[in-house]
């Protein structure tokens, strides 16, 4: 099987001149379709940096990074936007647009696709919100939703367009552990159902069990893969 993400000899630096500081060292990583990978590592080790590089949110400086068949190091800003459209992102903060209802927030993702009818977009958004358990909150504004509910809307927004890759950076950090657990289970079920690859950064040891594979970032270097389950 071909990996959906293939990172080879990736280095990354912040700052310029004397202040230039290397944060990623010779990263090599393949992620396959349908695989759930959890990345752990202490604070400041470079997890977010790697995630934003894989997600085409940051330009590649040195090394090779293939995402959905595109060499990101050779892709311009316009092309990076095209790659972003194929990825579902879930952030630590939900970052929902406060002036849009739950359904409209989800619909913003579908509007990026060409040739979708308004009625279909509305229906797909509603269906996705049903799946994350918010079927009766379609027309709520974010301010009247709880933290867990907002994160569910954010998940619906990330998954509604059936992305082949889902990236999440500590999506449970701002939630209590019970809510966090539910959110993680939901993500696990949905990504399996859509057969998407899922790369999750977390500090939370209690949720490691959903992973097919756990990788550990240590001061900018990826430690050895820790294969939990075999990939089918």
């Amino acid at each position: 099987m071909k990996p959906i993400i293939s990172v080879k000899n990736l280095n990354h630096y912040y700052g310029k001149g004397n202040l230039k500081k290397q944060v990623l060292f010779d990263i090599n990583l393949d992620i396959y379709p349908g695989e759930i990978v959890i990345m752990t590592g202490h604070s400041g080790s470079g997890k977010t940096t790697l995630l934003s590089l894989i997600g085409a949110l940051r330009s590649v400086q040195d090394g090779n990074l293939v995402n959905c068949g595109r060499e990101l190091q050779d892709t311009n800003e316009n092309g990076l936007v095209d790659v972003r459209r194929q990825i579902g992102y879930i952030f630590q903060a939900h970052n929902l647009l406060p002036f849009l209802t739950a359904r409209q927030n989800v619909q913003m993702s579908i509007e990026l696709l060409d040739d979708v009818l308004t009625s279909e977009a509305e229906e797909r958004s509603a269906r996705m919100l049903h799946k994350v358990g918010l079927g009766d909150h379609l027309d709520y504004f974010p301010q009247s939703l709880s933290g867990g509910q907002k994160q569910r809307v954010a998940i619906a927004r990330a998954l509604v367009s059936n992305p082949k890759l889902i990236l999440a950076d500590e999506p449970t950090a701002s939630l209590d552990s019970a809510t966090g657990r539910k959110i993680v289970n939901l993500l696990q079920n949905l990504t399996k159902e859509q057969n998407s690859a899922f790369l999750l950064v977390t500090h939370d040891n209690r949720i490691l069990d959903i992973a097919d594979r756990i990788i550990n970032m240590d001061d900018g270097r990826l430690a050895k893969d820790n294969q939990l389950k075999t990939i089918t």
Partner: protein, 388 residues
């Protein structure tokens, strides 16, 4: 697919902020309308007399700078003009300030503008002159401007009750009793609070110190089909340089440009318009900028999920446009009401014109576009790399 109208939804979401933005635009629109309305009314009123002259070309002294500072010139020049084949007739006009005694408050004298005309050619196309012209033949009779300021006394009311009003006019050292035998309508302007029309013979009875054969404006009526521009050129070349020849349009421009450029009036109104627009730009910019600044994480998220910078750019520009149009409409309506108030208070012919409404609409949109274009710079701070 019909997209979610994010620009409008975001504006609507923060109602108070939207109201502040709209108030800023309404305020700017009203200021601009009032400044332009009053300015145009003042300039229009300054040339109402000129507009009402039934002539095609005019002769004046080169030392005349405006209708409030007319220098007399020899009537011989006008007679010379009448010798041309193209001319239908010529007619002299006399113009001077006179002091009018308020008939109710007899110690109160106030300057008004006196016009002396040759009754044989009725050259004043002003309402009330044609029908009353015969009444001006007897000595010491005048027509009174019914839209004169009320400081001259309740002339219109007394005239309508009694059929005549008697008072006195002073010019230089001499004072003369006169009788108002009719009303006409010209209106006040920068220079004149009121106007009188009389025969040139009666004019010279009041202005008894004037050198004989000297007039202030020479009116030339051309035969049909004669091009006034060409004739003006021809006459100017023929006559000595001690007179200036104008077509009617040039005569009107001459008067307007005096008020516009030789006085601070034009500048003051332009400054007012400018300040109104600056206020509008600042308010709208402030609102659009805070809108962007407050939503940077959300905008960065939109970029992260695949929206291009253009989308956000369009969003801000659409908001600028919405604010412009939504602020303009109430601004226009309030200004129309304000014009009525000003018209009542000043007797100036202030009214909304299609051109001005269109101009201010475009100015408002440009104003908001400038504010929007400045505010979008802040969008660059929405970096998708910063949000994980």
């Amino acid at each position: 697919m019909q997209k979610i109208p994010t620009a409008w939804l975001q504006l609507k979401y923060q109602k108070l902020r939207l109201i502040v933005a709209l108030s800023g635009v309404v305020f700017a629109v009203i200021i601009v309308f009032m400044q332009m309305g009053i300015r145009d009314a003042l300039f229009d009123s300054a040339v109402r007399l000129h507009q009402g002259l039934r002539g095609d070309c005019f002769i004046i002294s080169p030392s005349s700078t405006s209708s409030i500072a007319m220098q007399a010139f020899s009537q011989r020049r006008l007679s010379q003009a009448s010798a041309f084949d193209e001319v239908e007739f010529v007619s002299p006009i006399y113009q001077e300030f006179g002091q009018w005694r308020n008939p109710e408050d007899r110690s109160y004298w106030r300057n008004l503008n006196m016009l002396g005309i040759d009754l044989r050619q009725n050259i004043l196309n002003l309402s009330g002159v044609d029908e009353n012209i015969e009444l001006l033949k007897p000595s010491d009779t005048v027509l009174f401007d019914s839209s004169a300021r009320e400081e001259f006394g309740p002339i219109v009311e007394n005239f309508l009750n009694n059929g005549e009003v008697n008072t006195e006019i002073r010019n230089g050292d001499s004072t003369r009793k006169i009788k108002v035998v009719g009303l006409f309508k010209l209106g006040t302007s920068f220079g004149f609070d009121g106007n009188l029309v009389m025969s040139h013979l009666n004019f010279l009875r009041i202005v008894d110190n004037r050198e004989k054969g000297f007039i202030d404006i020479g009116l030339i009526k051309l035969k049909e089909g004669v091009n006034p521009d060409l004739f003006r050129q021809k006459l100017q070349n023929y006559l000595p340089k001690d007179v200036k020849v104008f077509t009617k349009a040039e005569f009107i421009d001459f008067e307007k440009s005096y008020w516009q450029s030789s006085t601070a009036i034009g500048f003051i109104f332009d400054l007012g318009v400018f300040l109104g627009i600056v206020v509008g730009i600042v308010v709208v910019y402030q609102i659009l900028y805070t809108n962007v600044a407050d939503h940077l994480p959300e905008y960065a998220t939109l970029k992260a999920i695949g929206y291009r910078n253009n989308y956000l750019l369009k969003l801000v520009i659409q908001q600028a446009f919405l604010i412009a149009v939504l602020g303009y409409i109430p601004g226009l309506l309030i200004s129309i009401i304000q014009y009525e108030v000003v018209k009542k208070a000043t007797l100036l012919p202030v009214f909304m014109t299609f051109d001005r409404a269109g101009f201010v609409l475009i100015a408002t949109i440009v104003m908001c576009a400038i504010a929007g274009a400045t505010a979008v710079k802040k969008l660059q701070d929405a970096d998708p790399a910063d949000i994980f």
